[in-house]
Point group: C2
Chain length 410, copies 2
């Protein structure tokens, strides 16, 4: 019998009725496959716990927070196990460490170092459903850790890898991956199939259905992912290695990120090492810099612009101002009213025309481009936040994503 | 430096303000002693979790319940650790299994088999406050268990024993142990000192401040207990071995239990083995029988009466009726409107007059005694529930407990 890992997020187990629905779905799957289920905390529970801790201190100690937050997944595991028993299934429950998930000691953002899935495998082979707490593990020295961004999705993929599972199905509150956010483009279509690489670019630029880290892990180990709804019966989106996709699609989807801000340093002396000196303190402060742009210089000076998460803008400004003084650059400007729109597609590599189509469509619609950045399979632009959603719609249409011509082929 | 174990119950950590108060108290103690703190789930949390599980199934599987309920203590540990850090203390947190608490595999009512306190001791010796989850442990095969009745108090005493602590202080929502329930006898006085044995009888008959199991454990290992309030500064009640108490007191306290019901079997043939046949199915069903009374027989028949927890009355009736038919006894009667009042005191052993004083005082007040039972240091009577509180007041006065004459000497 094949092994499959299911992962259910917080909204999928938000209340007793939904937990029952999850149990029924698992019961159906268990008729033909061995199922390990990775589960998140009930929606709202993690925030409730963080709220409690913040009442004690504004920045609670990470080790205690991990212990506190890990209770959320633990409760979900127990409740889901009970619901599965109601369906007549035998179950075995596993906290992160009981499932053999060993992490490093970085509380709040631990990395999975190793999984020994022997006990989970034994439970599956004995015909039981393995119900595993997502988002948590234990450090080598026996402290409860949480694995930070990507959370339970990453747990599920890591477990699927360790179990050599046939696939990892991520059940969520959307039908799958769409060519754009359907709240912005009502005619965005469900993608049947997408490559790991495309998925990473989309996740990174705001699709938010799957975290980059989890897709990266799946790609590394070649675990097929399926993203599907826990509320409907659709087949969702399969995330697969490149070779399984046929050619033919240039652009797969459009994504939008609103959470960034830009910092511009004017009149930066165009000397070797200056850029490095500017970014050193920012990197050291752990601020995530996304786009970096530097134009060719004029009269020995250039403008340097970069984007950071909005929440880090104040810190980034302070550091950039100090750095600017240090390298004898001009004034530092910032803007939070921006958004990033990205066009993603594996086919882009061999289609130089994408950028042109993109810029022409935006120009025709009167949308001003503030910054441009590209990666192998992505072109990103920064626009004013008020034009962002229109930009997404314009591009979705320009690349024919609403029509079957642009559909990816499964 | 001496080691002391503090235990704080659910009401003591019910909200953030109270958790802060606990942290301040621990901080004060930590100036002169090494402190390990055992903590319960926040008041109401365990019931909330049980409620969730009961929505899924009326009698949830015990293993899953243990996993679910154990989250309550885990959250308290994390929150208290944060609060202690706010007080400038270094802490180390321990779930049951991390504190080395190994139990048998009886979910929901596991017994502590063994404690290896090496990690807790190391934390204390390194100058950290050890914050330990009460009520939980882990079975030999790695399953999370809860230790049932007596819960966190038992954890605390067991840990104090394993650490050879100077004493175990149980912080609760009352000032200490009183000579009677102050809601019934407003002039009941706080006992400065009480023996383990008296405490067990009081706990058993409804004082409910400490569970028998925890007192038994303390007695076995000679760990001095202190019961005191987490809300006031009083010194509470010390629970000590017999030899530390001076003579002089006959009766220490009066207790009241309302949770029982009685079952009477009429005309039981007075033959050897009949009583055993009647109680076998009841014992097998796990029903807790408290008082058992059988009068001398008349014409080869006797009446047999016993008390059971009210919640088990229906089951006990069914089993008693079957057994009565089996042994050819007469009809079975039951009554739930009873209460048990007990007079407890170590001095009673050498004072035969206690029973007489008791019965005379009750008779004078027109209170009808339905059943009488005695143990070495206790006389219990069963009365109608509507006369129960009056009986407590009458006896409290009859034994002079309101006055200093009857006060136990510390």
């Amino acid at each position: 019998m094949k092994i499959v890992v299911h992962k259910y997020g917080g909204t999928s187990v938000a209340d007793i009725a939904r937990i029952r629905a999850v149990a029924r779905r698992v019961a159906t799957a268990a008729r033909t496959e061995r199922v390990a289920v990775v589960v998140s905390a009930q929606a709202g529970e993690t925030d409730r716990l963080i709220g409690l801790a913040r009442k004690l201190m504004p920045e609670p100690h990470a080790r205690d927070m991990d212990l506190l937050i890990a209770t959320g997944e633990q409760a979900s595991v127990a409740l889901l196990s009970l619901a599965l028993r109601c369906e007549g299934l035998a179950t075995e429950t596993f906290l992160g460490f009981q499932a053999g998930i060993v992490t490093d000691g970085n509380h709040g953002r631990a990395r999975i170092e190793h999984i020994d899935p022997a006990r989970v495998r034994a439970a599956l082979e004995a015909g039981r459903i393995a119900v595993v707490a997502g988002f948590q593990g234990m450090s080598f020295d026996g402290r409860v850790t949480t694995i930070g961004r990507g959370g339970s999705d990453t747990s599920a993929v890591a477990l699927a890898t360790a179990l050599s599972a046939d696939r990892c199905e991520i059940f969520t509150d959307v039908e799958g991956i769409k060519s754009a956010d359907p709240r912005i483009c009502p005619d965005a279509k469900l993608l049947k199939c997408i490559t790991y690489e495309e998925m990473m670019e989309l996740a990174d630029t705001g699709a938010k259905v799957l975290h980059t880290r989890c897709v990266e892990l799946a790609a590394k180990h070649g675990v097929p992912l399926v993203v599907r709804s826990s509320f409907t019966e659709g087949e969702g989106t399969r995330v697969v290695p490149e070779e399984r996709r046929l050619e033919g699609t240039v652009v797969t989807g459009i994504s939008l990120t609103k959470g960034e801000a830009k910092v511009a340093i004017r009149k930066v002396p165009d000397r070797i090492g200056v850029t490095a000196r500017i970014f050193k303190p920012i990197a050291k402060a752990g601020i995530d810099v996304d786009l970096i742009l530097q134009n060719v210089s004029e009269d020995g000076y250039t403008d340097l612009t970069f984007t950071v998460p909005k929440g880090d803008l104040r810190r980034a400004m302070t550091l950039a101002s100090l750095a600017a003084r240090d390298v004898e650059a001009g004034r530092v400007e910032a803007a939070g009213d921006i958004a990033k729109v990205s066009v993603v597609g594996l086919g882009m590599r061999s289609h130089a025309g994408v950028a042109h189509t993109m810029f022409a469509a935006l120009a025709e619609d009167g949308i001003a481009i503030q910054m441009i950045g590209t990666s192998e399979i992505k072109v990103s632009i920064v626009v004013g936040i008020h034009q962002a959603e229109r930009a997404v719609r314009v591009l979705h249409e320009a690349f024919g994503l609403s029509f079957s011509t642009g559909a990816p082929v499964a």
